[in-house]
């Protein structure tokens, strides 16, 4: 068989079942691709020995006709998911030397469905970032480049290792997490498909916490079908996460190819921001046309509190982060720096362990939760969050079944190009994605074309709570209509 790293996850699954390809061959091909792609810095920890032994086990099961749903399929795991017996870093120095004695629920589901873990993928430190430049293990470089330009391009963030590795054919799919756009924005930047499911669809247990009321796990893959296959395995109730929902998980793959005739799709006028680039506006119009051609009905809707979502997010998320990250104190795990007394030990440990962006957010969060400011900032932001959710509730109550928007305000940018002078410049990347987390809704980003500079552009579909199936059906319709993106040229293996 030609290079099996270029198969989709579904194609690889079928080839393994047909025994035209072995799990060992498939895994080895990916390990070779990873070994040749060090320049992209996608992985923080590679686990080739574990992968090959898992692949051998998969081949034995395949031979016995006992294949599980993801038998022998090589995946990357974002290094925010705890892996039993494998160093887990959250891309932070503060977790120095941490080796979990347990496996996160979502990655445990993937492994018990037969998936092969290739290693732990790079990310922004504690998933705080939109470019993967805040990682303590160095930035990830996107496999994509601008036309006629060698400048290193960011893969988006925080799941930048996941998006770059999937786009560069280093794994068939990857886990990711999304607090304000961290699955969808990197998927958009790399021409891949990413879905953040409804809050509560996947267990958060064993995933390093950032902002617990916003965090959700989800997959990044190269096709809509592949994302559906992975989400089915990742999702499900977990008694260890009280916010995970006790509801059956549908066969999402069955939604691929379902008719979207008559589906009412909302197009929110508030997303047509002042200064929205012509290229993005045209892409959005194109997406509307594709869905119309597929038989969907397009209606203009209003989500009037949209513009307040990002500022409110930058109160709520740091507040929750400051609380969650209080656990990193140098006592129970990770880094410890000495001090004259226990307070100084805490302060020295956290000063050395946290990077600049994490420190900034912990401090903002501490401030907005402190006595005298709590009502003015935090409570007000939570009220605005109620208004943002109500906007969506009203649109859905009026019969809208999904919402179509751009995924990002621009294509990917070069390393060092954004946010160095003003942190807010980087935050604006999430302007189209963050509302979805604030309202707890499912959101899917998928490639829809190339910008004039040669980089991928993406659309976002937003769904009703627990209606991921409609998103997969609509995304599959757009995927069929949209021009197929070429694989990025493998300049990194030179």
């Amino acid at each position: 068989m030609a290079d099996p790293t270029h198969l989709s996850l579904a194609q690889a699954r079928d080839a393994l079942k047909a025994r035209t390809l072995s799990a060992k061959e498939l895994t080895q091909a990916h390990l070779d691709a990873i070994a040749g792609a060090k320049r992209l810095n996608c992985f923080i920890t590679e686990t080739p020995d574990l992968a090959l032994s898992a692949a051998a086990g998969s081949d034995a099961r395949l031979a016995r006709g006992e294949a599980r749903p993801l038998e022998g399929l090589p995946l990357g795991i974002k290094d925010l998911y705890c892996s039993k017996g494998v160093r887990t870093t959250a891309a932070s120095r503060i977790l120095d030397g941490f080796i979990p004695t347990y496996e996160s629920t979502v990655s445990a589901h993937l492994l018990s469905d037969g998936a092969v873990m290739l290693g732990k993928l790079n990310l922004d430190e504690f998933a705080m970032g939109s470019s993967n430049e805040t990682s303590a293990f160095g930035p990830v470089i996107s496999p994509w480049r601008r036309n006629g330009d060698d400048a290193g391009i960011v893969p988006g963030g925080s799941s930048g290792g996941s998006s770059a590795a999937v786009a560069a054919r280093l794994c068939l799919g990857a886990t990711a997490t999304d607090t304000g756009g961290s699955i969808r924005q990197p998927a958009a930047f790399t021409g891949t498909v990413g879905i953040k499911p409804t809050y509560g669809r996947c267990s958060r247990w064993g995933i390093v916490a950032f902002a617990s009321s916003l965090d959700q796990a989800g997959p990044i893959a190269r096709t809509v079908r592949d994302a559906a296959i992975l989400l089915r395995s990742m999702a499900g109730h977990d008694p260890k996460d009280a916010t995970s929902v006790d509801a059956p998980v549908p066969d999402y793959e069955a939604a691929i190819g379902a008719s979207v005739k008559g589906k009412r799709i909302g197009v929110p006028r508030e997303y047509r921001l002042d200064g929205l680039s012509g290229e993005i506006a045209a892409l959005w119009d194109q997406g509307v046309a594709w869905l119309k051609d597929a038989g969907a009905e397009i209606v203009e809707i209003s989500l009037p509190h949209t513009r307040h979502a990002l500022p409110a997010y930058y109160i709520i998320a740091p507040a929750e982060a400051s609380s969650n990250l209080a656990r990193y104190d140098g006592v129970r795990y990770g880094l410890r720096e000495k001090g004259r007394d226990i307070t100084e030990m805490y302060e020295n440990t956290r000063a050395r362990g946290f990077g600049a962006e994490v420190r900034r957010r912990v401090m903002i969060g501490t401030y907005v939760l402190s006595a005298g400011y709590y009502d003015a900032y935090y409570v007000r932001a939570q009220k605005i969050r109620s208004l943002i959710k109500r906007d969506f509730d009203l649109a859905f109550a009026a019969g809208v079944e999904a919402v179509l928007t751009p995924a990002t305000p621009s294509p990917a940018f070069a390393l060092g190009e954004k946010g160095s002078a003003d942190p807010v410049e980087m935050y604006l990347n999430d302007v189209f994605t963050v509302t979805v987390n604030m309202a707890g809704l499912p959101g899917l980003a998928l490639p829809a074309g190339l910008a004039s500079n040669g980089l991928p552009l993406a659309l976002q579909l937003i769904g009703r709570p627990f209606d991921e199936e409609t998103l997969f059906a609509l995304a599959a319709a757009i995927e069929t209509a949209a021009p197929k993106l070429p694989a990025p040229e493998a300049w990194w293996s030179a």
């Binding site: 004695t101 009280a242 007000r380 935050y427």
Partner: protein, 95 residues
């Protein structure tokens, strides 16, 4: 609301993060940039709006009040930077 250097130091202490003198001014400017960004929220009419407590309507699950886990002292201590027997070691707290 503007964060001055005294407030930066106070926040840093509340957050238990040591800040070098040379960093205080820059950090204050960054925090002020973020606070300026969120300031527009003051103009939103939130009268009569309940603050969100749960993004989806869900009733908190209850379970029987029984021990479901435990006996893992070695696991829990496995990653401790300093430990002795089944204890975490910290600098002396009580004089």
């Amino acid at each position: 609301m503007s964060v001055d250097t005294a407030l930066v130091r106070r926040i840093a202490h509340l957050a238990r993060i040591k800040v070098e003198d040379a960093e205080v001014e820059q950090l204050g400017a960054e925090l002020n940039a973020i606070l300026a960004f969120v300031e527009e929220l003051n103009a939103v009419d939130v009268s009569g709006v309940e603050p969100m407590t749960s993004v989806l309507p869900m009733t908190m699950k209850l379970r029987a009040d029984v021990v479901t886990d435990g006996g893992k002292a070695a696991d829990i201590l496995a990653n401790a930077p300093e430990r002795e027997d089944h204890f975490f070691i910290v600098p002396k707290v009580i004089e």
